[in-house]
């Protein structure tokens, strides 16, 4: 049967879903509606290799327009401002109407903004898309003392890149550790030390009281009355799922669009994938919302299969990474449900991993090390987690013993 399949959102989840649908369904029309006038591209390099000029815009695209053409996938740059789920229609700002038989929502997430006086709204920069990355790259070339508000992944990756561009960087974090939302403190402290060793200033436990513009520069007043002078401010204070379009509809929302393990929403023939979806994970037996490269891709693929009629559960064990200076940090599974922590290694040069266990089984792990040093073990850990078996803690804790001994058992 030939269906009209519309994918709302032109990011990673959307493009991988589209290609997966096409693999299973040669007939249906597949149309991606994207708000950015760009084919889907990789976002991780924006805060790293793109700022450092090691990667150019053309290196970022997942697929060329030829790939989409060959697979008969349409991409349209359009902004949708109304959804009618009952009649299966999307309405664009320019009065275009799109009818669908199946809809995938992959609108992603958007940056939280600082609440500031109106006169400062255009002075604080955020980084999520290519346009913003280009602007930041251009402006920082003339700036020297840069303040990053928020000590999460994005802020720290930018701080690492700007330090490598010889800028003086200050990071202000409201919490008592860096990357506190998902990274264990032990690992965060190792990353913090590396930033400090490279000359970045890290300020924890401080809130911003006021930002004042002064002769083109800025003064940031903190809640301990200290004052920071800076000539450029970038904020990375978290994201929220992009769901505004659905707020007055029947679509069930709760920290994103609620989906089951098949990427199905509360409305028939409407699916959601990627950052925007608060999905049920059958292994962890709970809902979660993830913002990561691996998840966007795998969840998109899973949605694609289900849309094409190949009923598939999403069981991927979460995995994510961050690169800062010469460090590669990786996290697998979830690290907030445990009754025991096991440490493997204590030297960042050889990699340090913390395993989080519950009932003697691994639920998640987080590691950091010089690039290349934790990836293999974290990957094996994902497999061990998935196997859901009781593990030999001696092997986990001894870096001289290979973890793949556990997987072969």
């Amino acid at each position: 049967m030939k269906n009209n399949i519309v994918i709302l959102g032109g990011g990673q989840a959307g493009i991988y879903a589209a290609r997966e649908i096409r693999q299973n369904d040669s007939k249906s029309n597949i149309k991606i509606l994207g708000e950015e006038n760009l084919l889907p591209y990789e976002r991780p390099p924006l805060s790293k290799d793109f700022l450092l000029d090691k990667k150019k815009e053309e290196d970022l695209y997942f697929h060329s327009s030829d790939v989409l053409k060959n697979e008969n996938i349409e991409f349209e740059n359009i902004s949708i401002n109304k959804v009618d789920f009952e009649n299966k229609k999307l309405f664009a700002k320019n009065d275009n109407v799109y009818s669908y038989d199946s809809l995938l929502i992959s609108t992603g997430s958007e940056n939280k903004k600082l609440s500031l006086d109106n006169n400062l709204k255009n002075d604080i920069y955020y980084l999520r898309n290519l346009e913003e990355a280009k602007k930041i790259k251009e402006i920082v070339s003339n700036k020297n003392k840069i303040t990053i508000i928020g000590g999460g992944f994005i802020g720290l990756e930018i701080a690492s890149s700007l330090s490598q561009l010889q800028k003086k960087v200050i990071v202000i974090e409201i919490g008592n550790q860096l990357m506190g939302r998902i990274i264990p403190k032990q690992i965060a402290d190792l990353v913090q030390n590396t930033h400090i060793e490279h000359g970045n200033e890290i300020i924890l436990n401080k809130q911003i009281e006021k930002i004042t513009k002064k002769n083109g520069d800025y003064e940031i007043l903190l809640n301990d009355n200290s004052l920071i002078e800076t000539d450029f401010i970038i904020a990375g204070i978290g994201s929220t799922p992009t769901v505004k379009l659905f707020e007055n509809t029947n679509l069930k929302l709760d920290n994103g669009i609620v989906t089951n393990q098949f990427c199905e929403t509360s409305i028939k023939d409407v699916f959601a994938a990627g950052d925007v979806s608060n999905f049920y994970h059958p292994f962890y037996e709970r809902n979660m919302r993830l913002e990561s490269y691996q998840h966007a891709q795998n969840h998109g693929i899973c949605a694609g299969k289900n849309i094409a009629g190949v009923k598939t559960e999403y069981t991927s064990i979460p995995w994510m990474w961050s690169d800062q200076f010469n460090l590669n940090l990786q996290l697998t599974g979830i690290c907030d449900e445990y009754d025991e922590i096991i440490e493997r290694g204590n030297d960042i040069n050889n990699g340090v991993i913390y395993f989080f266990l519950k009932n003697n089984k691994i639920r998640g792990a987080c590691g950091v090390g010089i690039i290349g040093k934790v990836g293999r073990d974290i990957r094996i850990t994902s497999k061990l987690t998935e196997k859901d078996t009781i593990v030999d803690k001696q092997i986990l804790s001894d870096q001289n013993l290979k973890l793949n001994k556990l997987i072969q058992k």
């Binding site: 990789e42 991780p44 997942f62 590669n328 290349g372 934790v374 990836g375 293999r376 990957r379």
Partner: protein, 105 residues
């Protein structure tokens, strides 16, 4: 190709099965693998970002980059999973007198 392009890597027992070793020659880095059906060789640096594949995970016929989990087929070099999209170069391997040789062009 002339005979002198075969470069000795080391003894066949220097690699465990389903594992790899790194081999540096002149200014290049290679990975030499022992799979269930023999020895194979590829470039030693991931095509996605400059990281050594020696720290990667070998599973069946695949090598997975330790940095971002790009996956390559060891025998063909084909990039199988993003973020890697450029294939990995492969090299002929032969075993002579319990020694591994790779042919570098």
């Amino acid at each position: 190709m002339s005979e002198e392009n075969w470069i000795e890597v080391g003894a066949t027992d220097s690699i465990e099965e389903e594992d790899l070793i790194r081999f540096d020659h002149q200014d290049k880095t290679f990975c030499v693998y022992k799979l269930t059906d023999g020895f194979y060789a590829t470039d030693g640096i991931c095509t996605h970002e400059a990281v050594h594949l020696e720290d990667g995970l070998v599973m069946d016929d695949e090598i997975e980059c330790p940095m971002h989990q790009g996956i390559f087929n060891i025998k063909s070099g084909e990039a199988l999973s993003p973020p890697a999209c450029e294939d990995l170069k492969t090299y002929p391997v032969k075993v002579d007198n319990d020694k591994i040789f790779i042919k570098i062009d």
